[in-house]
Structure formats: structure tokens, C-alpha cells
């Protein structure tokens, strides 16, 4: 047993109140992260609050995509389409063809993403896995090209002046300065609590973090319900599930729609923060990065995909020094990860168990475990 798993086992054995306190402390730490400016973690080349917000949107997207890829086992290579639908709904309602405030536009964006998910899923979910991948990839491109070519949606110039989330200017929070080597509270560099402005990105990060917590809660509830079990059955063996009375098509569609919802929600958050969106923000490559986040982290395990999203979005920002070589190094990292952690960084416990059983069977058959 490795030290990491030993530590995890000890953490699991702790009494419940201690666990709750630890989680709460961790939550506070996450919220305080942009103010702490921790050396090594903070990004010298880019605004740390902005980077954290980007990471948070990736985490949100990865959680949504995990429902589709990880739970229901449907390979979706066009997830950026839903992200774009969410962002553009806010943009169109709030700026291009109306002046709906951000907060009212978000539910509409989520519903719009849901509808697009059902519209795409209803005809296509009947085709088999690999075909679904190319159809969804096509969907992502169709959305982007429609955005580029439709003047009603702002065309290639995109939409600007998108309304920001409503906020209040309650009090100032100071940040911490490490330039002397020791932490000093820096009163000169403060963040106004919940002022959604242009320069200070930290409040957007807080908002995104709060949304992530809600989504995790939702994810937990759905995963451990009848629906979650139905997804698992469908993913493992669709025919067997159907025979056992699981309406697999309906559950796949549900996974698709829920995933789309969360994608739309993150798109709406992104639009509210950026204030400006254009088709360039929704390249096909982004879909591929999203899938990479889910698979690298460990599809089916929500903590795994969160870690995967952080890896995929944070490291390219952190290592801006290597500007030109970022993508190259990222590609190498993906290949190395694929070889050494084929189940993902944090695989679902079930997958680990299944693998152990497999190895035991192999050992029984062949006399030695496969390495």
C-alpha cells in the first residue's frame, strides 16, 4: 500500500465531526486562495484571480462532461457547443437583442443548453459509441460556424457589453504579499467583496466556486440515486441493462441533457465574466481539452475529473515561461499520463476493484499476475 492510500484510509477512518471541520477548513482555504498569493502556486505570468476563474470554469465543465462520459459512458467530442449555447444565450439576451440582467439570463441559458442537448441527443443517441463521437464533434463545429456566419448572433466580431453578475460593494478584503519572503498583509492591494468589475477577477472566482459546490452536491445526489445506478448499468452493458428493464435510451438522453445544462451554466458564467464573447472562444480544440480533463482525471470519479480539469487548465497558465513549448509539453504529458495512469489520476473505486479482480483471475489462469 502506498503512503498516499494509507493517508486516505486514515482520513476515512476519522470521526464524522472531524471530517466536517476539515472539509469546512478546506473550503475556506479554497475561497481564500486568490488572496493568499502562495508562492509556487500563483502564476507570475498572468493575473492569478483570472487564472483561478479559468480553472474553475474548466472544473465546472469537467463535472458536467463527467456525467456524460464518465457516468453514462457516451463519448461527447462537441461539448463546447453547449458551452457556447450558454454563453451566447446570455450575450443575446443581455446585450445583442435585449437588456436582460445577467441573473435572469442564466436560467434561460441553462434551459437553452438543455433543449439543445435534447435536440442533439434524441436523434443521435441511438447510434453506437464511436459514431456518437464524430456526430457530437460535428455538432460542436456546426454551432461555432453558425455563430461565425450569423450576423444576428454578432458574426465573427462576437458580442460585447454583456451584463455582469449583480454585486454589492460590502467591504474590502486585503491580500497577502510574499515579496519579502515572509507573508505580509498587503492593505494596498485589496479586493472589494462581491464587486463584479473589470480589473479584479477574484469575485468571479468566488462565484464560480460557489456554483461548483452546488453542482458537486447535485452530482452526488444524482449519482447515488436510481438514475446513477441506471447510468452505470447502461455503461457497463447496455443490452443487459435493457433486459433488466432499464429504459437505457431515456437515461442516456437524461445524462446528455444534464451534462448540457452544466455546460450551458459554465458558458453563462464565462460570458458574465468576460463581458465579450466571439466564436473564437469556442474552438473545437476546447472540446478536446474538456474530454482530456475528464479522462486524465479519471472518468466516473468526480474528484478525479476535478483534478484533471485543474491539470489541463492550470499547468499551461503556470508555465507561461515556456510559452512556445507549452502545447508540446502538454501533449507529452498526456501521453505519459496515458501510459502510467490508464485509469486516470484518481480512478473511481469501482474501477480499481474491477481491475484487482481481473488481475486475480489472470493470476489464477496463468500462474502469475500481469504487470
Amino acid at each position: 500500500m502506498s503512503p498516499a492510500t494509507a493517508l486516505l484510509d486514515r482520513a476515512r477512518a476519522m470521526p464524522k465531526p472531524a471530517k466536517i471541520v476539515l472539509w469546512a477548513l478546506f473550503g475556506v482555504f479554497l475561497f481564500a486562495l486568490p488572496l493568499l498569493n502562495l508562492p509556487l502556486i500563483s502564476t507570475p505570468g498572468a493575473d492569478f484571480g483570472g487564472v483561478l476563474f479559468t480553472v474553475a470554469t474548466y472544473v465546472l465543465v469537467a463535472l458536467g462532461l463527467n456525467i456524460v462520459v464518465g457516468y453514462a459512458g457516451l463519448l461527447d467530442l462537441g461539448y463546447v457547443g453547449f458551452y457556447a449555447v450558454g454563453a451566447y444565450t446570455v450575450g443575446v439576451l443581455g446585450s445583442q437583442h435585449g437588456s436582460v440582467p445577467w441573473l435572469w439570463a442564466v436560467p434561460v441559458a441553462v434551459v437553452a443548453a438543455l433543449v439543445s442537448g435534447v435536440l442533439l441527443g434524441a436523434p443521435t443517441l441511438r447510434v453506437r459509441g464511436d459514431y456518437l463521437a464524430i456526430v457530437t464533434l460535428g455538432f460542436g463545429e456546426i454551432v461555432r460556424l453558425t455563430l461565425v456566419n450569423s450576423q444576428w448572433l454578432g458574426g465573427a466580431q462576437g458580442i460585447s457589453n454583456i451584463p455582469r453578475p449583480p454585486g454589492a460593494e460590502l467591504f474590502d478584503v486585503p491580500s497577502i504579499d510574499w515579496s519579502t519572503g515572509a507573508p505580509i498583509i498587503d492593505l494596498g492591494n485589496t479586493t472589494t467583496f462581491l464587486k463584479f468589475g473589470i480589473t479584479d477577477q477574484i469575485p468571479y472566482y468566488w462565484l464560480a466556486l460557489a456554483v461548483i459546490l452546488l453542482v458537486i452536491l447535485f452530482d452526488h445526489l444524482v449519482k447515488s440515486s436510481r438514475v446513477g445506478r441506471a447510468w452505470e448499468a447502461t455503461r457497463e452493458d447496455e443490452d443487459a441493462a435493457e433486459l433488466m428493464g432499464v429504459p437505457t435510451f431515456r437515461f442516456k438522453l437524461l445524462a446528455f441533457a444534464l451534462g448540457a445544462c452544466i455546460g450551458g451554466l459554465s458558458g453563462a458564467l464565462f460570458a458574465g465574466k468576460a463581458g465579450f464573447i466571439s466564436p473564437d472562444s469556442f474552438q473545437l480544440l476546447l472540446s478536446i481539452l474538456f474530454v482530456a480533463a475528464v479522462v486524465v482525471g479519471g472518468q466516473g470519479n468526480r474528484w478525479g475529473v476535478i483534478l484533471g480539469a485543474i491539470v489541463v487548465s492550470y499547468f499551461p497558465e503556470r508555465f507561461r515561461e515556456f510559452a512556445d513549448f507549452r502545447v508540446l509539453v502538454f501533449g507529452l504529458a498526456l501521453m505519459v499520463l496515458a501510459v502510467f495512469r490508464p485509469q486516470g489520476l484518481i480512478p473511481p473505486r469501482r474501477a480499481v476493484r474491477a481491475k484487482k479482480v481481473d488481475e486475480r483471475l489472470d493470476a489464477l489462469e496463468e500462474g502469475e499476475a500481469r504487470v
Partner: protein, 329 residues
């Protein structure tokens, strides 16, 4: 509509030329899918390396427009040789580095996609950073014409001057068009015969049908897979030469869109089916051209993908169905 009718033959010829290139690249996807059941996402980069090999060999030999027939034939032959060798090599390397280690570890299928995405980034960025890499090894001045402006378009001299050979209703079919179409079809017929008749081809079909039984019957699976990648790479190399002759411009990221299109073509025809890839390529090339004539060039890609969705709705396994293994034995 009127535009489509007026330019019907022009659109048809360009569509078929484009479709030939799609079809050749699609063969690589289809072969690998048939044998391994995985989408070789990095195949587009194999094609891209082929375009550069074709370009460099022409630069090396000092190719230019308006040369004698003998010279042109020599240049084109060298282009094929260089591009096929380069693409084949990259494809084999890819299999060795990105796929074989995963197979040995019995990794879940989706992880191969991640490895392929990683490999795709590495390959296209290596090409995009070739200037910087040349500086490291101290060859940047000697190789300046080859590695300079690594992130911009690289254009090729027009070694075959397009000349009208015959006209169909106002549209002059050029020698380049004819060469690309006939050449591509000839290569595909060769491949079809190879898979159908040769010993290695039989191995490929056996592994595609049932890998375990094939292994029990003495087929060396690793070797068959390697050959499959090699053949796919060589096809991509041929496609790269036709692409450079017809379009003449390439870039470190030129593979991506073409790869997506070629994969679409493979799925359209029925992935794993060689004749399907051929048909899918031509259908896609034609549909794109007719579609863009009907609704505007900017909607070209939308038409291509919508067509794919519609066809999959009615024929969920593509136009000809999937059957590398079940191909007429």
C-alpha cells in the same frame, strides 16, 4: 440554385478531386479502426508530415514551374517517395510510442484517445517549432529555407502548370485534376487488392474479424497492427502529394481540419470498410461543393456535418456498413 446549375461541372470536378484526398486519408482511419477499434486521432498529423516531406523534396531538388516533362515526372516521383516514407515512418513511430504501451497494459479504450490527442499535439507542435529546434542543434542557418517562418504557411512552386485538357460545358478540366483523380483511384485499387489477396492483407482481415482466434491461428498480431499503421501512413503520404499538387500550401496545423473531414468521410462510408472510405470521401467532397454552391461557401463545413448526421440517422453504420473483417474473403 442557378449558380449550382451553371457551375455544375466545375463543382463536380473540384469536389471529386477534394474527395480523392479525403478518401486516401480516410483509409488510414478506417484501417486502424478495423483492426484496433480505436480512432487514430493523430492520423491527421501523419498526413501533415507527408505534405512537408513533399514540399521539402521539391525545394531540395530545385523544382519550379515550366520544366520539361521528364523533370516533372522525376520531381513528382520523388515527392511520392519522400511523402510516403515520411508518413509511413511517422505512423509506425506513432503506433510504437502512443498505442503499443497502452495495449500491453490493457488500458481502457478511451485512454488511447487521450494518448492520441497528446501525440497529435506533440507532432504538430514539433513541426510548428521546427525553427527553434533547428537553433538547438545549430542547423538554423543551413536549413533556413526549410525551418524559417515555422508557424506560417509554406507554399510550394507549381511544378505541374495546370493546363486545360478538355472542357465540359465551359469548365476546363486541368491535367492536375485528372492526375489527382486517376492517381488516387489507382492507389485505392492497389490497396484493395493488397488487403484482399496478399498474405499480410489476410492477416489484417483476420485480426479485424477476431483478434484472439487470429492469434491462435498463428497470426502475429503486433506485426499486423504495425503493417496496418504503415499502410495507413503510406496512403496519407500519397494524399499529401496530391494535396500539395492541387492546393500547394501547408502549415504545421494543416492536418487538423483535413483529418476531421477524412474521419467524417470514413464514418460516412462505414468505418472499417475500405470501399466505404472511398465512397465516403467522394460523397463528402461532392456534397461540400454542391452544398456551398447552394447556401454559400461559409456554410461548407456545416453542410458536411449535417449530411453526416442525416446519413447516420438512416444508416447507423454508414453507407456501406462496417466490414473490414467481413470483407469478401
Amino acid at each position: 440554385m442557378q449558380y449550382l446549375i451553371d457551375n455544375f461541372f466545375a463543382l463536380t470536378i473540384t469536389g471529386v478531386t477534394l474527395g480523392a484526398v479525403y478518401a486516401l486519408v480516410a483509409l488510414g482511419y478506417t484501417l486502424v479502426y478495423g483492426v484496433l477499434r480505436l480512432i487514430n486521432f493523430a492520423h491527421s498529423e501523419v498526413f501533415m508530415f507527408g505534405t512537408f516531406a513533399a514540399l521539402w523534396v521539391v525545394m531540395l531538388l530545385g523544382g519550379k514551374g515550366g520544366a520539361s516533362v521528364g523533370q516533372v515526372v522525376f520531381w513528382v516521383a520523388m515527392m511520392f517517395l519522400a511523402a510516403m516514407a515520411m508518413s509511413g515512418l511517422i505512423a509506425i513511430l506513432l503506433e510504437r510510442v502512443a498505442y503499443r504501451p497502452l495495449r500491453k497494459r490493457h488500458a481502457p479504450p478511451l485512454i488511447a484517445l487521450i494518448s492520441a490527442i497528446g501525440a497529435s499535439f506533440v507532432l504538430s507542435e514539433t513541426m510548428g517549432l521546427r525553427g527553434k529546434i533547428a537553433v538547438w542543434v545549430g542547423l538554423d542557418t543551413t536549413l533556413a529555407p526549410y525551418v524559417g517562418n515555422a508557424r506560417n504557411n509554406a507554399g510550394m512552386p507549381e511544378i505541374i502548370t495546370p493546363q486545360p485538357v478538355f472542357t465540359i460545358r465551359d469548365y476546363a478540366v486541368t491535367n492536375v485534376d485528372i492526375f489527382v483523380i486517376i492517381g488516387a483511384v489507382a492507389i485505392m485499387v492497389l490497396l484493395d487488392q493488397f488487403v484482399k489477396r496478399s498474405r499480410l492483407g489476410r492477416g489484417i482481415r483476420a485480426v479485424a474479424q477476431d483478434p484472439e482466434s487470429a492469434a491462435l491461428m498463428g497470426v502475429n498480431r503486433d506485426r499486423v497492427i504495425q503493417v496496418t499503421f504503415l499502410v495507413g501512413g503510406v496512403m496519407a503520404g500519397a494524399a499529401a502529394v496530391f494535396y500539395m499538387l492541387k492546393i500547394g500550401i501547408t502549415r504545421y496545423d494543416a492536418g487538423f481540419i483535413l483529418g476531421v473531414k477524412a474521419f467524417t468521410a470514413a464514418v460516412l462510408g462505414g468505418i472499417g470498410n475500405l470501399r466505404g472510405a472511398l465512397l465516403g470521401g467522394f460523397v463528402l467532397g461532392l456534397a461540400e461543393n454542391y452544398g456551398s454552391a447552394l447556401v454559400g461557401t461559409q456554410w461548407k463545413d456545416v453542410v458536411a456535418f449535417l449530411l453526416l448526421v442525416v446519413i447516420l440517422l438512416f444508416r447507423p453504420t454508414g453507407l456501406l456498413g462496417e466490414s473490414l473483417g467481413k470483407a469478401r474473403a
